[in-house]
């Protein structure tokens, strides 16, 4: 099975995440979209590692491990921020968080 199957699938997933992050009003779903994009990138790392000529070079795997850890931290902080914002504005609708809009 050639590599580009995985790459195109990952690109699709990335596009879905991007579309979600750009179009949804709810801040939580925007964060979810970003998570999906990160996952798509992770899949690329794994696919490239698996198809690399030197299978003992495991940089791909290590990068994904770090990426997962960072994504977890990002999700925690991001959701805490959303909860904090919700407390101030009583909404998670991004279009209503326009205090700086002049």
């Amino acid at each position: 099975m050639p590599l580009h199957y995985y790459l195109i699938f990952s690109a699709l997933l990335f596009a879905v995440g991007l579309a979600g992050a750009l179009t949804r009003r709810n801040a939580i779903l925007v964060l979810v979209g970003i998570e999906l994009m990160l996952n798509a990138a992770n899949l690329n790392f794994i696919a490239f590692w698996r198809y690399s000529p030197d299978p003992n070079a495991i940089q791909g795997i290590l990068f994904v491990i770090f990426s997962i850890a960072i994504a977890a931290a990002e999700a925690a902080v991001g959701l805490a921020l959303i909860i904090s914002i919700y407390r101030h504005y009583k909404t998670t609708n991004l279009e209503k968080m326009d205090s700086l809009k002049g």
Partner: protein, 220 residues
Amino acid sequence: MQAAFAIIAALTLVSAIAAMSLRNLVHCALCLAVAFAGLAAMYLQLDAQFVGFAQVLVYIGAVAILVVFAILLTRSGQPVPHSVVSRSWIAGVAIAVLVFCVLTRVILSSSVSQRSLPAKPSPTVREIGNQLMTWYVLPLQVIGLLLTAATIGAVIIAMNERKSAGGDHRVTADQGHGHGHLAAPTGLNEGNATSIASETGSESPAHYPQPEREREVLAK
């Protein structure tokens, strides 16, 4: 192999699209978990056991749960009267499609992408551990630091309600009124945005009355 890939890919994509497009946010979160599981299956198919399990452990066991908690704590699970997508959604979708087209073009034109599957590698967990502890020890430390900082940061951000339980909060709530946002009585909204930790740490009288808070969390 191909069939397995097709099934997993279809499942992941469908649930990812569902996660991004459903109206009910809790359904979105559940679909997201399915998408994460599909990705984990794909890692397993690519012989990356460790990463696949880490994906399940972190994404399904923690991130999806976190998203669910955030949805319930911000009462986003309730149906909204207006559209769930923003006004400029066409532009967003167009950008996404564009990005996809560009990526596909690049992938298809690359010679790397035609590479066929090499022999099955045998990355033992021991190998990963050795690498983490030798060559990648600095990134590991940095990640540890980052995670600690993120934990503390998340707790502090979600907890600051508690410190300013008195007047501060009232001011911010009034600002909310000024901008024409959801005008709820302050006392009623006191506790509904607390984190899990303060959900259960009940020493502070600021979080009473509990039944009211629970009702709010429940009002999906």
